[in-house]
Symmetry: C2
Subunit: 208 residues, 2 copies
Amino acid sequence: MSENGTGAASRKGRPRSPAADDAILDATRALLADRGWAALTIGDVAVRAGVAKTTLYRRWASKQELVLAAVADMLDTLRLPDCGDLAADLESVVRQFAALLARPEMQTALMGLVADSTRDPELRLRVREVIVDPQKRLVVEGRAQARARGETTAANAIDVDLVFDIIAGTVVQHMLVSAEPAADVWVKKFVAFVGAGLMGTAEGLPED
Amino acid sequence: MSENGTGAASRKGRPRSPAADDAILDATRALLADRGWAALTIGDVAVRAGVAKTTLYRRWASKQELVLAAVADMLDTLRLPDCGDLAADLESVVRQFAALLARPEMQTALMGLVADSTRDPELRLRVREVIVDPQKRLVVEGRAQARARGETTAANAIDVDLVFDIIAGTVVQHMLVSAEPAADVWVKKFVAFVGAGLMGTAEGLPED
DNA sequence: GTGATTCGCTACGACCCGTAGCGTAACGGG
DNA sequence: CCCGTTACGCTACGGGTCGTAGCGAATCAC
């Protein structure tokens, strides 16, 4: 996340305070939650974290990198369970993702980063590295799991990139644009739709 | 979009220049395109439009309202054709939407507005009024059209809100987050997926 | 004309930016 | 144990943007 010298490079001198890292990232999340991306200022984060402004600039090059670090940990909590069938696994992941997206700091952070990244190729790359790609593994692993269980028809129909965009995109659109909670019925309807899409596009592929 | 007094309220006095409106909205789109949402400043827009900064503040209460007005017209160009079957209609709309989302000013404007709206309920409402709801009609009309053609099975499976979120969300995710163009093959694969999802979830509904 | 409103222009205090300089604090090595 | 090195807190700075106010000139309805 940050360029903290855990490597052999910065061994001499006073080490950076890990406590400061935690305080800063916590303060960032707190301010994101109750003021939002646009109103988030480095100075405010420093005050709230009880840290000098220069300490922040010493670790993160920009507001974007700071927020990226602040939300990266949360996203890594997503887990792929093995519920016994593909639909149940999918439903679990959708619920976990929806729970993350229900948090205000996550909402404003993700959209703010995406907004800035539309005109900043380097940031867009960082967003993919830190946020998108690590979560795409869930689809890859879910497909492998389904295949191992013998659900070959559905598994073979999974185009990882397309399925990922459908899941992530739809949940984001529903919760942040349509601004409705991911209620139980909604999740079930959506999961059923994706399942039907997979089975329906499986034609012409090797059967199990 | 703006509170321009086209009504009977502001009949006396010097009328607002429509030319200024056009110049301002054009300048807004141009600056959005080559600097992005975050770097868009009211002062820059005024200079580029050849207009005083106060003229801008007289018409739009905030940067968000200005951008909202600047992109509203573009979104209203979306048209629902009647290609003969639901899948073809859907494909056409997806292509039109993808073409809009390929424009840089549209990318940064939409994401910037959504980002701000996550912590601003009033703005979120405005976004829904101006952007989301007017486009949702495409799904409603598409369903009615399909039903009139006798495609009752698929039509009855259409949950307007869910289908809208799937279409809009997936295209946005693919183009702005995954940052890949909506190539021909991609559109066909996605449309096939949605079609399969509709037919698959049609079970238990009245047949045609 | 007369009153009302908009226009361009200039100026203002407030805020945030990112950086620099300073003295002090905390580490490792000779 | 001191010394080099780096991090830390603090203060201060020039530069930019914000949103508003005040002014004279311009342009409409009546």
